[in-house]
Structures are given as C-alpha cells and as structure tokens.
Symmetry: C2
C-alpha cells in the first residue's frame, strides 16, 4: 500500500493509501484512521461503506468520526465505492458504474470484469489491512445509504466475520426500489431470482447467525418511501426473530449532518462489542 | 434573509441563508447553526471566518463544530470569504479576489466597489442576524488562516464588540508575507503605511483593550514560516503585555483535520466567556 495522504487528527493519524486490487483488477484508494495507541497494540477495525457518488474521502472529511475512534481506540477503514479508472466500465448516471458498486459481485458484461466489491471489502482489503497495519482480526461494519445496504448484506452473507453491524439510512429492499432494481438489472441480469442473495431483506430468512442490526434513519430523509423502506425490513426481522433496532430520528435528512449527529453513539457501541 | 438550505444537525438546525448586502453591493450566502434552545431564549453568537478559497460551506461541513455548539448553547455564524457574483471584481489566482476578501475594506480600484468585508462582518451581518434570529448581542469571533487574520484584526479594531477571539493557523503578519503583501498591494495600494491598520501584529501596539487572544497552530503546518509567523506575533504581544496563548500542536497541518481536532475546546472557552 502506498501512502498518498496523511494528516494528524484527533491525536491519531488520518491516512489515505493507494494499492493494486487483484480482485477488482484496478488501482484503489482506501482511507484509514489510526487512533492513538500503546506501542505494539493491535486494535479492532470498523469498516465504513459509503453511499452513491462517494469516494474514500466523504466519510473522513464530513462525519467527524475520528474523535470517537480516538476515544474508543478503534481503527476506521473507509474504502472507495466501486472500482475506478479508465479501463473500468462506467455509466454517466450517478447511480450506476463508478461510484455505485453496490458492494456485490457482478455477473453481467461489461461489469463482471471489475465490479467485485463484495470480495474486495470482505476478503482482499481486510487481508491487506491486517497484514500491513497494527490491527487485530476483530472487525465490524457500518455504512450509509448504498453503504448501509452493503454493511447489512456483507454481515448477513458472512456469518462470524463481523462482530457488529450498523446502517445509516440504508437501502434494505434493493430488489423493490428504483436504485436497487436499476443496479441489480445491470450488474446481475434481468432474472430477479439472482437478486435475492444481494438483498438485505431477502437474506434475513436464511441468516446463519442472528447478529443484531442497528438502523439509524432520519425521519425527514428525502429518500424515505421511494428508495428506503426500513419498516419493511424491521417487520421481516420481527417475523423471523432477528434482532433489529430502528432508531428513527425526527427531522434528520439523508446528509452527512445526520451521520455526524449519530456516528459517535454507533462507534461507541461497536467498540464495546469489539473489545468485549 | 432567504432560507436556501436547512438540515437538522446535533439536535439543532444548520441553515444557509441568502441575502442582499448593501455594504458589499451583492448577494451573499451565510451559514447559521442554531443549537437546541428553550423557547424565547436569545443565545450568544460565535462568528467563524474561513480561509482562502472557502465559502460559507467549508466550516459547516468539515469542522464538526455543531455538536459543541449544541452542547454549549451557542449560535455559529459562518459568512462567505468575499463578495461574489458576475459584477464583482475577481482574479484567476486563488489568493486574490473572490474567495480571498481578507476581511478588510478595500480602497483601490477595481476592488473598492465591493470588497468591504470588514464592515460587512462587523456591522451589517450582525445587525441582520440580531434582527432576524433568536440571538443576543453577545458576540465572539474565530477563524482559520486568512480568517484567523480576520478574527484578530476585527477584534483589535473594534474594542468591546467581541468578548473572545481565537485564531487557527492565522496569518498574523500579512504586511510581511507573500499572501498578505499581494492582497494588501491590490486592495489597499502600494503605500505600506496604509497596511498597518489591517495587520494583526501592527495593530497590537495601539489596541484599546487587552482582549486575550488564543492561537491554535499546527506544528506540521506546511505554511509555517513563509506565510504564518505566530512566534513574531507572540513576541510583540509579550513586549506589550497583551495576553496571547499560542497552542502549538505537534504534527498537525493546515487542514480541517486540525480545526476539527481543537474546535471543541475553543467553542467551550468562548461559550464560558460569552455566558459569564
């Protein structure tokens, strides 16, 4: 990993690395916050998955998360939202192609060659982080919007891999809403049978562990209803006995002002679980 | 003032207004954070002045200040950094013209017609804020880089107007460094005698009140030396018996990661003074 950006922040260090991804077959950037820590300590890691149009920069510049990670002694890792580069398939729309990888492994041309964000985030990136940085193999995951979908789906598909999961304003029923239907049709094909293994709600029934899921959702979110349906997800979880807490926050919208307002509580919760 | 943006944040409200400025003879945007407050309360205001290239957006999206303002019950007001618009003189360089008003009243053509940021920030804007929002006339001021210069200069030039002043990575000797010499030559003319009334260090000797000044400065700031000389300012203050505290923070750079790391302590200090 090549260090391309470094800032002291909250008594720790905010870095951005560039590295070659074999899984995605392109160069990737990833942001890493290292809190102050005793020499030799190996700290747990919270993975943050961003939403549509974001890069590795949005979370680290706008969420104000570093001070909480410093306080609780956890590392934050924020990858980009898709493969990138001239040789990587793209689409002019903001909700498909680069910046919109949806944290899945694509099966359809022209996407399948590079769009394997699931395998990158779940396997290749943690292997790299755990080999090169002073971290342990205790991991948790959170994300926003498309990244909230990613956090829940990755946790449900990989039992035992994450000790906690939180989703801010997540897309939980992608098979049923415009953002998800468009992306899944492109990446996975028109046969909706293939979509279920990438749909948070659909995955709940077969979950091999009942890892508690916390959903933070703004009540004034402009995408509630058409794109986000947390109440459908909660209803299915209750039916199955899967522990889900929906924190509905009146008046808050879909922006980083919302994330910044509640990220501290979720980092504290993850840290407690990761260190427990 | 027309409300053009509104987000719930930290249990308060982050707004952006557009309004006509008579002083600047153009339309301006200004960001205002209103913390949660009891009905009828009139809260003190901290004015935040941003640095070169910034707009009213940088501070509100990157500093993470809202949670501290909410905790301490103070309003935050962050104006733009210059007059704006098609009819307003500009320069292609990042450090002159729009985005680089230097918080002074220009006397030279073509700048004098609009570039009167001192009068806007000190008089017109507070009059508007105090007429239209639930605030008191207790004010303090802080800023970053060019805005740190602005905060100290405005406080020194207007005794009694601000109850506290803090400067992050400020330009304190503009008459002697490239950024300041370029801007002052353009805005105030080549006669350096006119520069002294806009130079923080030069203003110290004649200050009518000895308002304590806190300077937050990153030790790894890439502009320390060529553009920022806090040690010269501190030496002059010590000679005059003007209370200045220089908090040198090893390793921190000139970015918002630095501001975000220490804004909480300065908001707490201002709030204590403003409410005392």
């Amino acid at each position: 990993m090549d260090l391309i950006e470094e800032h002291r922040a909250a008594e720790g260090t905010q870095r951005v690395y560039r590295h070659r991804s074999e899984v995605l077959d392109c160069e990737m950037k990833v942001a890493v916050f290292l809190p102050p820590a005793p020499e030799g300590a190996r700290l747990p890691v919270i993975y943050w998955l961003s939403g549509l149009t974001c890069t590795e920069q949005n979370f680290i510049t706008k969420a104000g998360a570093q001070r909480y990670a410093a306080e609780h002694g956890v590392v934050l890792v924020a990858p980009d939202t898709s493969p990138r580069g001239e040789g990587v398939a793209d689409d002019p729309a903001y909700d498909l192609g680069q910046g919109a990888g949806f944290y899945l492994n694509a099966t359809e041309a022209p996407w399948a060659a590079h769009y394997r964000m699931h395998d990158y985030v779940v396997h290749e990136l943690p292997a790299l982080i755990e080999a090169e940085l002073p971290v342990s193999d205790r991991r948790s995951i959170m994300g926003h919007s498309m990244g909230g979908h990613g956090a829940i789906v990755l946790a449900l598909r990989n039992p035992g891999r994450y000790r906690a999961v939180s989703a801010f304003s997540p897309i939980v029923t992608p098979s049923q809403v415009p953002w998800g239907r468009k992306a899944f049709t492109a990446y996975l094909g028109a046969d909706e049978a293939a979509w279920a293994e990438w749909d948070a709600l659909a995955l709940l029934a077969g979950a091999a562990e009942r890892l508690p899921i916390v959903i933070e959702q703004g009540g004034g979110d402009e995408f509630l209803g058409p794109q986000l349906r947390p109440e459908d997800f909660v209803a299915e979880a209750e039916r199955l006995g899967h522990p889900v807490a929906l924190h509905l926050r009146p008046g808050y919208d879909h922006s980083y002002y919302f994330i910044a307002s509640f990220i501290g509580a979720e980092i504290a919760r993850h840290a407690m679980v990761l260190k427990g």
